[in-house]
Symmetry: D2
Subunit: 341 residues, 4 copies
């Protein structure tokens, strides 16, 4: 059966499996001291234009968000996120497990607004009553967002200015970073991200790897003993070569961007398909997640043949659904869906 | 250069890579709902002789220990472990991060003693002052231990009897379980483990997999919503197929035991080699870790050619070293070391 | 200067100081095993009509909320509260420090709605995606609320029915319980509270004591080793006699209700006063907190003579203010304020 | 019945109750902004010779230890304490609840040794394996210790030098500080403590107050937003006047030292009494806790008339017992005990 439920339905890009095969019996130290992890770090620094960056390869998204946030906050601080942000909703309490509240600002199709962020932060200044509240300690956003949308360079610049004014680091969750960078709607590139964010991560799990996220501190100012914090938070792999080989492969010859482009091409076909067939799109997403609104009858008809996610039930009985493409989605799969619609 | 530093110097057993290749583009759901994880769970239930078991596939050892312990303890409880237990020493505070103290009993070459455990637990009964202390909530041991030693069936039975008397679950850390089961010194098998432990895990990372540990609740009584707890603790993989394919492979046709036997065969050769060359062994280990005592001169001579761990410096200038074999160690590597000695 | 900023501007009711004096040199054990704490527990059981109740005397409100919530939740659970609930806003992250998210439902002048609560909880049933979210583990509300309002007996009964349907305990924060019970608007009494809540606390700090909150588990089903949890959470006093003497005094001859009535009488005078002078009340509060809307000019005029809290700035330049009375407020103080207005 | 079980068997010193009475109806703000807390802070700064100090008044010992330690450590750090230290044994897991391991060094009648501390810390330097362990982040000791013993000025100076060498703050738990300062064996005073410790607290609960501990950061370098951390950890009193009035009283006219001297005088009489009667003392304690070794027969004879603690059972059937004096112990009580012996 055809599946568009998410961008991690398949294994890894073949080049990754190939590299795992070829290096399999080389003896290398554990915990990220292997030569593959070293290569991965170097290539990421080069691709992001930040030669002094600290780069760490962690297991997956939840672990990465929880680890970075806990490492950068003091105990009395919380992380500010859009109310639809992944850390605000879908991390199973991993942020709170580290003792931190997620403080929310309004979400506009997944994005926070710099002005609203400023207003939120401003309230903590010169107001003693706020000493009884969790203080904002960093700002979190995802790019692309959980709704497939992208902040423009200007929007990120404005948010960064607010962060700077309030001395808060900006953390960019790039679980689907490739699908943002490869989007025609993106007006920034990886070095821009590295310049605007104080810390960000490059998603591997959803962009061609079996697992792994690369955390980047562009200025080389990772929190002290971050390695130990990573281990404490369950985000360290003994065989550091596993993410090492994968990211070394993804960042060789622009593979990361190239395979991301496939997802975007397929998603734009999907978008055109839904529009052509008269299905309204709940969100105008320029990335690999598309959100057509389907009737119950249409969903019932599709279900035996294609898997997708119901995102939200509408009062009129219809539903916002999610169809995701990935590095692995083929034109054939889009054609098969077209035939079904 | 030759390396005996640990049992995770290589990638994965070739059969695993082969299986990853073959299944790579099959679309399967995430988070453990894939068919490979289902197969892995079934095969593990069969191998352990506990058809009703709950089985979960987690990322790595630290995450697994932290998750299981936190899921099974109440907030005011701690875990009892030998003072050399992995959770007592080398988890970077992951247990305490979950709010729990590690309560220690003496270690005898890595093992706790049932009588000493009973004496420790007994002190908490009928003594009000203990209400100001962390209460024992479960018992943790590793099999094999961090020193390569093995509890006998009788020893485990005695410890289990103490646990039952004090109504504490027994948690067996099997990060190197295969290397215990394959040891000629083992007088118990996997079904015995499943009968004696309330929860245990089957190590993958150190026994042929790229990553992954299989947590087994033999009686099918996993804590409620354990899935959510696993995610919260950073031990869940989005691509559950990664550990799924690996454990499905390891538990097909007894591969897990078979590759473990290679490690033991090589370790026994190593042991014989050190003994033949006149190097005393600090611990009489029947598993894949061997602990020869070397002089500084000998270590200096070996270092350019072979990597190993210094375990402990002795007052006389010599050192207890650790040489570990694995599923991947070859007779050629042993021969090369023999030539160096 | 006159102060109406809160209900803890003074020390303790004179009868409490008297009792502390009279018992001062009696030697009694610590940590709640003193005879005064015993008396307090017995009198509270009698007053609440729950002879089998477990009663614990804790230090203050934040500690009490954090301790009760953490003791009753599992690690993967959160507490459901109105979005204006004290635990959702003003506990400095004490709930998150224990690892738990505060899940919010809409607030209507401080109160949750049974129907909205049911709708919120319903969403967690039969939806696998919810396994990635913090699960509701208990329901929290305050009586009176942070806005001075009171749930009716019917409203609490409806909420309790929802809790029962979803098997969640109901926790009632009674930091100002006396001021609710003494309100003419209250249609329930302490035994009703004890029947409807699974756990609640009787506020001492804001109702005549120097410190102390009495936690009541009406059915006698306090979590195991709750004493140890209380200590672990910083809510235990070595000199348990301090809250013991205070609650024994407050629950002798109905003193708790009697002194609460004074606060309500004064608050109703305050309410009448504001209404008579033409100041609109932002909330129709039947308890000891009143929320008149004042112009900036009026506030500027009052400030040199009387202290009060600014609750919320309105877009038109006016402000919602809070004037609180207490057991200690005198008719003279109301008269003085009247003269100023 | 006579009781020597602990130093918190009575209420408060009469001067404290008197002050609470006299100030009872003065309206003052909450949370430490009252004038009494201000006076207390000023007097403590003066008594400790550190005019720039930050002083905070917290509820009790467990809360204070947990709050200070958690505020000063990063998540990956633990606190180093003697293995008999209060935080290592008797805080019900409050330190671990904050996510931190207690790292222990040997105890010599309650005291750590500077050389052993240095050796312990040294092991973390230049050893990569240590990155998998909890790192030392501060050093904790109590003065007097849990065994009534006192570090000399030289011993504290040596420990401080080790802390400085390893850039770790030194935290001195002064739950019984007065009983140390008033001991004839003490060769240092409060300004010495303030000079040697980076943070310490002055115990109130055990030295004449109903509750309360005064945390002092002598150099005025309290962690940012320490107030919020105190609230988050359940160590803040809404009626800050309660510890305020008490510490303002204790630090007026040297009352704190004066009443401590009574405890020491009585303890020395106790010590002389036991020695005269031929009871060996398990520890040579110069402070208010004495540890006579009694036979079972003698304990059985005393029990109907006098309460005391059994500290440790000896193999020969005898027991180390603890008899504590306090500010409230009278010569009559000593005489009564003498008559019983």
């Amino acid at each position: 059966m055809l599946s568009f439920t998410c961008d991690y339905n398949e294994g890894a890009h073949p080049a990754i499996l190939q590299a795992l095969m070829e290096t399999n019996l080389e003896q290398e130290p554990g915990y990220g001291d292997d030569r593959f992890s070293g290569e991965a770090r170097e290539r990421i620094r080069a691709a992001a234009g930040c030669p002094a960056a600290d780069v760490f390869l962690l297991v997956g998204g939840t672990q990465t968000n929880a680890t970075v946030i806990d490492a950068m906050l003091r105990g009395y601080e919380g992380v500010v996120a859009p109310e639809t942000g992944h850390v605000a909703v879908h991390e199973a309490g991993a942020i709170e497990f580290g003792g931190h509240k997620v403080l929310t600002v309004p979400s506009h199709a997944g994005k926070m607004d710099a002005g609203e962020l400023r207003a939120f932060l401003e309230r903590f200044h010169g107001d003693e009553a706020r000493d009884h509240m969790v203080r904002p300690g960093m700002v979190y956003l995802s790019w692309p967002t959980e709704y497939g949308t992208l902040y423009t360079k200007q929007e990120l610049t404005d948010i960064k200015a607010v962060c700077t004014a309030y001395r808060l680091p900006l953390f960019l969750d790039g679980a689907r970073l490739g699908y943002g960078l490869a989007s025609p709607a993106a007006d920034l590139d990886l070095p821009d991200i590295a310049r605007l964010a104080d810390v960000f991560y490059i998603g591997g799990t959803k962009v061609g790897a079996l697992c792994g996220e690369a955390v980047v501190f562009p200025k080389g100012d990772a929190p002290a003993h971050f390695f130990t914090t990573v281990k404490q938070h369950g985000a360290l792999l003994a065989k550091g070569r596993l993410p090492g080989v994968q990211f070394a492969t993804l960042f060789k010859d622009d593979l990361y961007l190239e395979i991301s482009r496939n997802a975007i091409d397929r998603a734009m076909e999907l978008k055109a398909l839904f529009e052509a067939k008269g299905y309204p799109l709940a969100i105008d997403s320029p990335t690999n997640q598309q959100f057509p609104i389907l009737t119950e009858a249409r969903m019932a008809q599709l279900r035996p043949h294609v898997a997708f996610e119901v995102w939200e039930r509408l009062p009129d009985g219809r539903a916002v659904t999610r169809f995701a493409t990935s590095w692995a989605t083929t034109p054939q799969q889009i054609a098969a869906l077209a035939a079904l619609l």
